[in-house]
């Protein structure tokens, strides 16, 4: 008996469209085609298989009213007790320190704007990624160099109200700079008068005041001469056949604009930056990826769906909201829900002034009122007609 042809398999499987996720359909089709190569699959078997897959999917779907939020929160929170607190070396890149474990997870969910260890992995276009030299060159180009990095010594002359920077000759030369270039960069960038005396720069302040001098001193010290702002350290690593640039510090917008960079693969672990440059959907994915990475690295098995839900909750409003008082919890509709979380009295005082009303649509509000909560079996409301047939008194 000849089995069904791959084409029949395809058309039959296609009939599942809309009833079963695409991935499962693809999986089914591939497996069936694979088997049909060695073994004849009868029409009957094919139909049975398709039916079985359909049923299996139906059985696996969530029920209405399921408290998916609480389950997600528990699934992420519970393993938190098993995570480490320490910062470890990054697997693969021994040279960079990366925040991992519970602190990193908290950082992600807090939607912090400044990370304790921002990090980028920059992939290069093929032209540059194959040669060690070109990758190195690029790395050097983006590494941030400030006046302070090149200074041997800085001093403030309080009598003449002048800030003096003594440059390190070797460092300056290695970077192909001259005092003149540096001086003009400071002069143009900060609009200050710079006098050159060999490798000594004398920077005058306009208004001859102490505070002005001090302010200018810090400005000059952190003045960017070379590289990309924020990128404090750069490492070139070989990964397979290509060279990849790892950086400490992150500046996605500027890096993506560089011609050498492969924009499709380059990543940063700064979620806020991703939101700024690539938008909220990218940020949503970044939260998912970072959270999964953190949990997996600790050897914890958490279903993606939970992480997705947290990430969607954080980004559903169109901007990133943190898990906590200054984000989701602080913007809840219910006064009682907010009051029972943190800053109780503040929320009550404000609610009175704004004339808010609590519709008791959430969970804690109903717990507070001693009523059934609108979740699970509490979702259902039955309406029964009284009268002759209806029974009820």
């Amino acid at each position: 008996m000849a089995g069904v042809s791959p084409d029949t398999i395809k058309t039959e499987v296609q009939k599942l469209e809309g009833e079963v996720p695409e991935l499962i359909m693809k999986d089914l089709q591939q497996n069936l085609t694979q088997i049909s190569k060695d073994k004849a699959i009868s029409r009957e078997q094919l139909e049975k298989a398709i039916d079985a897959v359909k049923n299996a999917y139906q059985r696996a779907t969530v029920e209405a009213g399921e408290a998916v939020g609480t389950v997600a929160a528990q699934s992420i929170g519970e393993p938190g007790t098993q995570m480490t607190l320490r910062t470890f070396h990054y697997a693969g890149v021994a040279e960079l320190n990366v925040t991992l474990g519970l602190p990193r997870l908290i950082e992600i969910l807090d939607a912090r704007k400044t990370l304790s260890t921002a990090l980028m992995v920059i992939y290069l276009k093929e032209k540059y990624s194959k040669s060690r030299e070109k990758a190195r060159e690029f790395a050097q180009k983006i590494e941030m160099t400030t006046v302070e990095d090149l200074a041997l010594q800085t001093e403030t002359d309080l009598i003449n109200l002048i800030f003096i920077v003594t440059l390190d000759r070797t460092k300056v030369q290695r970077l192909g700079l001259t005092p003149k270039i540096i001086a003009s960069s400071i002069a143009n960038g900060l609009d200050l008068e710079v006098g050159i005396d060999g490798y000594k720069l004398r920077i005058k302040s306009e208004n001859e005041s102490m505070t002005e001098l001090r302010r200018n001193a810090t400005k000059v010290k952190s003045h960017l001469l070379l590289g990309v702002k924020g990128i404090t350290r750069v490492l070139v690593k070989i990964e397979g056949t290509e060279y990849v640039v790892y950086t400490e510090g992150s500046n996605l917008a500027d890096i993506l604009n560089m011609p050498e960079v492969d924009q499709d693969r380059t990543v940063t672990n700064d979620i806020y930056e991703i939101e700024q440059t690539l938008g909220i959907e990218a940020a949503r994915n970044a939260i998912i990826n970072e959270a999964i990475k953190t949990l997996e690295e600790q050897g914890l098995d958490v279903d993606v769906r939970h992480i997705m839900l947290v990430s969607d909750m954080m980004t559903a409003s169109g901007s990133i909201r943190q898990i906590g008082r200054h984000g989701i919890s602080g913007e809840k509709a219910s006064v009682l829900a907010r009051a029972s979380f943190e800053t109780t009295t503040k929320h009550i005082f404000e609610a009175c002034m704004h004339g808010e009303s609590d519709r008791l649509s959430g969970i804690i509000e109903n717990v507070i009122a001693g009523q059934p909560i609108p979740l699970g079996t509490g979702t259902v409301e039955l309406v029964m007609k009284g009268g002759a047939k209806g029974g009820g008194k």
């Binding site: 497996n31 779907t61 939020g69 609480t70 528990q74 929170g77 938190g80 909750m313 002034m353 959430g362």
Partner: protein, 876 residues
């Protein structure tokens, strides 16, 4: 459930002075509470019109006794207005954003601008949005305006001085002045200042009347000696009345301005601390003993406050708590309760014609004989305490329609809980089994979800009281329904420790059992089935393999293949021909090859067999399998004998010599590294300082030496060693634990580095300053069994301390994270249309998890296991 009243909505708003007077039943004028006879003084803070707390007295407002009177508000008329501390910031906003002119009082924005903002606010308000965020901006804009656009009055900058004073230029604004100004603001402008004129007026934020809460809110307590002790709130109210009286008297007698001002200020202080006794800049009011008073805000705030302590979490009846201990003989679905608990906790049962006779006997036995009953309720609502009633008579008169609160008995459903309740498996439903003893008994397999052990853990039991609650508990919360964790879709309930070793010992290749032994094992697993055909004959005796016996637990059509935990991950798997029998193959319910170990049945570790059974045969089959498998494992462990002790870590002297050699080698290498470093010839790693490089290299060398020591020791520790059996099968402990005991403990670390702190340049005075050698920085070359040297012991304590601190900090941090996560996500649910929405109905996900699949019903995260289905239908 019958709910007498449902709250649909709670509206918030401010009260005007008139509202407070209207609500009040009496004006409070006297600062005293009780007279000499202990009778409440009229017009005092314990006035009988405010409600009663002493039994025997009757409320003069509602006429009810102490039990039924809910209490009634009173009020204090204060001689001068004071600011409500909760609203000072908002008062400040109103003052600086409005015109100071007595005739104007408008917001300092042009009509056009104001109308625009008002429109925006009103549309936001209609949608139920956070309209006051717009007001915040309006206030900021208005307070920057210098002249009033309406009356051209010049503005004088108002300064707010914490906590309660306002100054306009150099003039102080008294609360009376403030109130006067606030009264001027027209209703139309209030929305722009974040105030809803429908429920609030800004001048109501300046109090002229202080409401006095009912005595039921601030009950006084009588201690044994007969001395009355008043509530903190009463104390504070006494203060308010006293100062108010003095202020009134002084004003009356025309006292100097300065004195009146001071008293006014004092009144402000007392009213402030009465509302909130933890305002920054205000010294907290104290009790005579120096204790800080707990006033209104303190009662609401914090973990033990009204909200988190009494409203979000409530105390309950029908609960019990005691120490837990293990019982391998009860089912995972069961819980062992003591008779005492079963007699104290009751379930209400309705008397019907079917159970009438049965329940009569329960009534007759009463509260002391088990199983009896504690209370009986007649259909007309009368409640009989069976301790004192004539039980025989009640039993004879028992009729359909009565309700009997009978003792718990076997088969009843109860909820079992262990704190911290980190996930839903921390509360599960169990069936009661009354057992002798004084502890709660639970099956060992349910330890992982509760995270329980038996070193003194206590757990709680709750008894659902309505049929509806009991049914929900049985169907949704029973242990067997919770075997699969929603966190990763695998079993969280399964075998632990001896269950694994027992199963391993039984299913090992060379296990042969005589008929007697095989029957004995089956009987202890409560499997009264016929033995299969014997596997063969040895010395004329029939024998059975352990695999045959274990296979009897499986459903007849179970097919499964996976690698066991003991698998050494060879480059190419020999599958069924594996030398160490690590390839598990189950064909048609028959364990053909492979051993049962952690991979097959350990909770939280794949648990392949249970996983398959529960997904293909349902929860009841899974429960039966687990109950029987664990019993069989324990019986096997007992039959074959299994013990471990310190001699399991014995290794021959030649091994110790080799280990010492390896460690000495490493120390030598470290020395050389240090020499190279000191000579400045060390090549730094990219992006690392010289010192960091050295440390990393040393740590690498020493870690390697520990591993070498370990692998030397491992060679002498074979699978005949019980400690090794436990480690390799995944039952308990790891090879690392063993090598630390037998060979070498290794490097101790603090903050991920070798130990470096203590003295200047050295860790202990026993070393030279600057010594970077292995011993000087906390490398322990001894083994636990051999014993640590004094210095090593000290380093070990340092490393150990860090571990303890780490755990303590982590529990606090992750606990808070969990609280925040729960709070942020708890309102989400899947709707009937498949979307995930929050309580406002906002859609968070259009399809849950992008494929609408429940993780606890998924197959390792995937919704459908296509391969499995196909192999069932098409065969492989």
């Amino acid at each position: 459930m019958r709910i007498a009243k449902m709250i649909d909505r709670i509206d918030f708003g401010l009260m005007s002075s008139d509202d407070i007077r209207k609500m009040s039943v009496t004006k409070i004028v006297t600062a005293d509470t009780y007279d000499e006879d202990g009778y409440p003084i009229e017009g005092g803070l314990m006035d009988l019109r405010l409600g009663v707390i002493d039994p025997g007295l009757r409320c003069r407002t509602c006429g009810a006794g102490a039990r039924d009177c809910p209490g009634h508000f009173g009020h204090i008329e204060i001689a001068r207005p004071v600011v409500n501390i909760g609203y000072v910031e908002d008062i400040y906003d109103c003052l600086r954003a409005t015109c100071r002119s007595r005739t104007c009082g408008r917001i300092l924005l042009s009509d056009e601008k104001a109308t625009n903002i008002r429109k925006e606010i009103e549309s936001q308000k209609k949608e139920g949005g956070r309209w006051w965020e717009i007001s915040k901006k309006a206030i900021r804009d208005a307070s920057a305006v210098e002249t009033c656009p309406h009356c051209k009055e010049k503005k004088i900058k108002i300064k707010f001085e914490k906590p309660t004073s306002f100054n306009e230029g150099k003039n102080r604004l008294t609360p009376s002045d403030v109130r006067e100004r606030l009264e001027k603001i027209p209703n139309d402008d209030l929305l722009l200042m974040g105030i809803d004129p429908l429920v609030a007026r800004p001048e109501w934020m300046v109090l002229t009347v202080v409401p006095v809460p009912p005595v039921t809110v601030r009950p006084s307590i009588t201690i044994e000696s007969g001395v009355r002790s008043e509530d903190d709130m009463t104390h504070k109210l006494v203060d308010v009345i006293r100062i108010n009286q003095r202020l009134a008297d002084n004003i009356e007698s025309g006292a100097p301005h300065l004195i009146v001002e001071d008293l006014w200020e004092l009144l402000q202080y007392h009213v402030t601390t009465y509302i909130d006794n933890a305002v920054s800049g205000v010294p907290p009011a104290r009790h005579r003993s120096g204790r800080v008073l707990r006033t209104i805000a303190q009662r609401l705030r914090g973990k033990e406050g009204r909200f988190r302590g009494n409203l979000s979490g409530k105390r309950v009846d029908f609960s019990a708590r005691t120490v837990v201990s293990p019982d391998p003989n009860i089912s995972i679905n069961e819980i062992g309760l003591t008779e005492y608990v079963a007699k104290t906790l009751t379930v209400p049962v309705r008397v019907t014609e079917h159970n009438l006779e049965d329940l009569r006997n329960f009534v007759r036995r009463g509260p002391d004989a088990y199983p009896g009953a504690n209370y009986l309720m007649s259909p007309d609502g009368k409640r009989y305490d069976l301790r004192y009633a004539d039980r025989e008579e009640l039993a004879n008169n028992l009729e359909v329609g009565y309700r009997l609160e009978r003792h718990l008995k076997d088969g009843d459903i109860v909820l079992f809980n262990r704190q911290p309740s980190l996930h839903r498996m921390s509360i599960m439903a169990h069936e009661v089994k009354v057992l002798p003893g004084k502890t709660f008994r639970l099956n060992l397999s349910v330890c992982p979800p509760y995270n329980a052990d038996f070193d003194g853990d206590e757990m709680n039991v709750h008894v659902p009281q309505t049929e509806e609650a009991q049914a929900e508990a049985r169907i949704l919360m029973k242990v067997q329904e919770q075997i699969l964790s929603p966190r990763f879709g695998g079993p969280i309930i399964g075998g632990i420790q001896d269950h694994i070793t027992g199963a391993y010992l039984l299913t090992k290749r060379d296990t042969k059992l005589s008929r007697d032994d095989a029957q004995q094992l089956l009987a202890s697993a409560r499997m009264f089935k016929d033995l299969p055909k014997p596997a063969g004959k040895e010395d004329g005796e029939e024998y059975w393999t352990g695999k045959q016996i274990y296979s009897m637990l499986f459903p007849k059509d179970l097919n499964l293949r996976f690698k066991a935990k003991i698998c050494e991950n060879c480059a190419s798997c020999k599958k069924e021909d594996c030398e160490i029998d690590a390839y598990v193959s189950i064909k048609d319910g028959e364990l053909v090859t492979g051993v049962i170990d952690a991979r097959a049945m350990k909770a939280l570790d794949r648990c392949e067999i249970l996983d398959r059974i529960i997904k293909d045969y349902g929860t009841t089959a899974a429960k039966d399998y687990l109950d029987n498998a664990t019993k069989l494992s324990i019986a096997s462990a007992m039959k074959f004998g299994f013990t471990t002790g310190i001699d399991d870590e014995d290794i021959p002297t030649e091994a110790i010599d080799r280990i010492n050699e390896a460690i000495d080698d490493a120390k030598e290498k470290v020395k050389k590294l240090i020499e190279v470093y000191n000579a400045g010839e060390l090549e730094p790693l990219p992006g690392r300082s010289l010192h960091e490089t050295l440390e990393m290299r040393i740590m690498g060398v020493l870690a390697e030496s520990r591993d070498t020591a370990g692998s030397i020791a491992e060679k002498y520790l074979g699978l005949t060693n019980h400690a090794v059996v436990m480690a390799r099968t995944g039952a308990r402990g790891s090879m690392l634990n063993l090598t630390q005991m037998a060979a070498c403990v290794g490097q101790q670390s603090v903050r991920g580095e070798r130990i470096s702190r203590g003295y200047k340049g050295r860790t202990l005075p026993h070393f030279k300053a600057g010594d970077l050698g292995a011993d000087a920085r906390g490398f322990i070359s001894s083994s636990y069994k051999g014993g640590l040297k004094p210095l090593e012991f000290f380093f070990h304590a340092m490393g150990g301390r860090e571990g303890l601190v780490d755990t303590a900090v982590r529990t606090a941090q992750s606990g808070y994270l969990q609280r925040r996560l729960i709070n942020a996500l708890q309102d989400l649910r899947v709707e009937y249309d498949g979307t995930v929405r929050d309580d406002r109905g906002y859609i968070v996900q259009f399809v849950y998890g992008e494929d609408n699949v429940d993780p606890s019903r998924s197959e390792g995260g995937k919704s459908v296991n296509v391969k499995k289905i196909l192999s069932q239908i098409v065969g492989d």
